[in-house]
């Protein structure tokens, strides 16, 4: 939609694009710089002015990372934890959202308000007793400690409920019931297919949140063999002698998978995020 008579070099447009370019630069530069440092040797960074273009030392630094932490093990742990939680969240949140949106039962609204209220409770509040429960269960240093408490969450239920209310007409439900479909069949055959975009978004959000989670894994996963990538990175950073080139090479490698996932699904992700927030 082009306004008639407004030239491209209109000053306010130039300012707009300049601001956007600055914004893009600020967003992207830290990623770039992470790679610059990660691919130079440490002495190059200690120079003043610092190196500004990527070097050739990336694989040397990467090798140092592998020597210091169990990098691939940590990545695998992160993949396992994130995938299992994502699958579980998608199932339990969507079916609960379906119940809150489309099934009539006593105390439904009260329970939903309660669910919303639980989102206000910071996870730190229950940190110590949760730790005790996990240690009673013998799950310290087990991935279960991270997976089980995160299998379903209030935000996901809320999100799915909003989306299902807005997209599935009651007539569709009634038609299904006429055909004698059980509630689970309705959920599986009538509700799930049209809400796939919302599932994709919730899945991505969940996957990224779990991948990036820090405090709880830090508390319950102490042994190196069960570290997630974030905890492994912290170990890398906490070494007595800080080899910045190595640390940032590790950070780069740890960020790469999630960056790729995001770039592949970005359209769906942002569209879903904005849709969900307005609904």
């Amino acid at each position: 939609m082009r306004d008639v008579g407004v030239k491209w070099y209109n000053p306010s447009r130039i300012i707009t694009y300049l601001l956007l370019i600055l914004m893009t630069f600020l967003s992207v530069f830290p990623f770039y710089w992470m790679f610059v440092i990660g691919s130079n040797d440490t002495s190059a960074i200690n120079k003043f002015p610092p190196a500004m273009i990527p070097g050739t030392n990336f694989f040397v630094n990467a090798q140092k990372v592998f020597d210091n932490i169990e990098f691939f093990r940590a990545i695998m742990n992160s993949i396992v934890v994130s995938s299992l939680i994502t699958l579980s969240v998608l199932f339990f949140c969507s079916i609960a959202g379906f119940a809150f949106a489309k099934l009539e039962f006593k105390f439904r609204n009260g329970l939903f308000v309660f669910l919303l209220a639980t989102m206000m409770v910071p996870s730190q509040l229950g940190l110590i007793p949760s730790y005790m429960i996990i240690s009673k269960l013998g799950w310290i240093n087990s991935l279960n400690a991270v997976i089980v408490p995160a299998m379903v969450n209030a935000f996901g239920v809320f999100w799915m409920r909003q989306y299902i209310s807005a997209t599935i007409p009651n007539e569709l439900m009634d038609a299904g019931r006429m055909d004698g479909a059980s509630n689970f069949r309705l959920y599986w055959n009538v509700v799930l297919p049209p809400i796939r975009p919302a599932l994709a978004t919730l899945g991505l959000i969940t996957f990224m949140n779990v991948w990036n989670d820090f405090l709880w894994p830090l508390v319950v996963l102490k042994d190196r063999s069960v570290h997630t990538i974030q905890i492994a990175l912290r170990t890398l950073n906490g070494a007595y002698y800080q080899d910045f080139a190595m640390i940032l090479a590790g950070t780069f490698m740890a960020t790469l998978p999630i960056l790729v996932v995001f770039l592949i699904f970005s359209k769906q992700f942002i569209a879903g995020l904005t849709e969900g927030s307005v609904k």
């Binding site: 707009t16 039962f105 910071p122 940190l127 910045f244 960020t255």
Partner: protein, 313 residues
């Protein structure tokens, strides 16, 4: 008795037995489908909250026996200078990070919503990108950016004749560095939320205003801001809750304990240290409860302000 009457009348109206069964079925499936959340929340939500309160009235480290001491942990907390420092740090970082962040997000969203804009998809992606980075990665990268000797920021500042700043050593330097991490990670997220809100405003509102002779600025303050206010409130609440719980950034930037003069010690970091470094579970639980009450207090204030703005209209 009355139920029977109702039952009869419904049957008279031609409601068959099957629909009655349907409501029972809906009840069973309804409770069944929502039960996983409530069971899990019971175990890892309700119980820990109550138990945290219980522990907070005890003196307890993990090895020794529990000893009931009433409100002593709380009394100690309120006279503990380190706690006040942590509280002050948390608030300082929260304000330095939230205000500019939301303001910038609003501007970016406004720019991204311009009708003539080309490449909107690309810029939207670019502004959102930092949000996918982990807190740990952000802390490491910004730790390098804010380094004293080799940091790129000090290098840039040297062009303006500013001597290298030891960001880590000073209180304000630490807060600014940590706030920069939060801002970098969250401005894009808020931009996207605001942009969505802007796009949901019906175009004819602006057209009508233009016909009535309202200027662009008037339109902004009388149409745009009121229409996206729910989203602004949403983001304020979200960043408040997030800001009060800030943990990974200070831990990574200032190290355990929050640095030499506790310049990076936040409430959650203090909680973590007390619980898992010093094993004083009772004291840490008291911190957890105070933190929780502060967050609830904030949310109530937010709600109150929202209501007042609404009723003022």
């Amino acid at each position: 008795m009355s139920a029977k009457v109702e039952l009869k009348s419904r049957q008279d109206l031609g409601v068959t037995k099957k629909t009655l069964k349907q409501t029972t079925r809906d009840h069973i499936s309804g409770y069944l489908y929502i039960s996983p959340f409530f069971i899990l929340f019971g175990i890892f939500g309700v119980f820990p909250i109550i138990f945290t309160a219980y522990i907070s009235f005890h003196k307890w480290n993990i090895l020794g026996a529990k000893e009931f001491i009433g409100f002593k942990n709380y009394q100690m907390l309120f006279t503990d200078p380190i706690f006040w420092k942590a509280l002050g740090n948390t608030f300082s970082i929260w304000i330095i990070s939230t205000l500019p962040q939301l303001f910038m997000a609003l501007i970016f969203a406004f720019i991204l919503n311009q009708a003539f804009l080309k490449g909107r998809e690309f810029f939207r992606l670019a502004v959102f990108l930092p949000n996918i980075t982990s807190v740990v990665a952000v802390a490491i990268i910004f730790g390098a950016i804010f380094g004293q000797q080799y940091g790129i920021l000090n290098y840039l500042l040297s062009f303006f004749g500013i001597d290298p700043i030891n960001w880590r050593a000073s209180v304000i330097g630490t807060h600014v560095s940590i706030a920069a991490m939060v801002m970098w990670r969250w401005t894009g997220y808020n931009t996207i939320i605001y942009l969505a809100a802007l796009q949901s405003i019906p175009k004819d509102l602006y057209e009508a205003a233009t016909i009535d002779g309202a200027s662009k600025a008037q339109q902004f303050f009388h149409i745009t801001i009121p229409m996206i206010r729910p989203m602004i409130i949403f983001t304020v609440i979200l960043s408040t809750i997030g800001g009060m719980q800030i943990f990974a950034e200070p831990l990574m930037f200032s190290g355990a304990g929050g640095g030499a003069i506790k310049q990076g010690l936040t409430m959650t970091l203090y909680l973590y240290e007390e619980a898992f470094t010093r094993n004083s579970f009772g004291y840490a639980s008291a911190i957890a409860w105070v933190l929780f009450l502060i967050i609830v207090g904030f949310s109530l204030i937010n709600l109150f302000i929202t209501k007042r703005i609404k009723s003022a209209e």
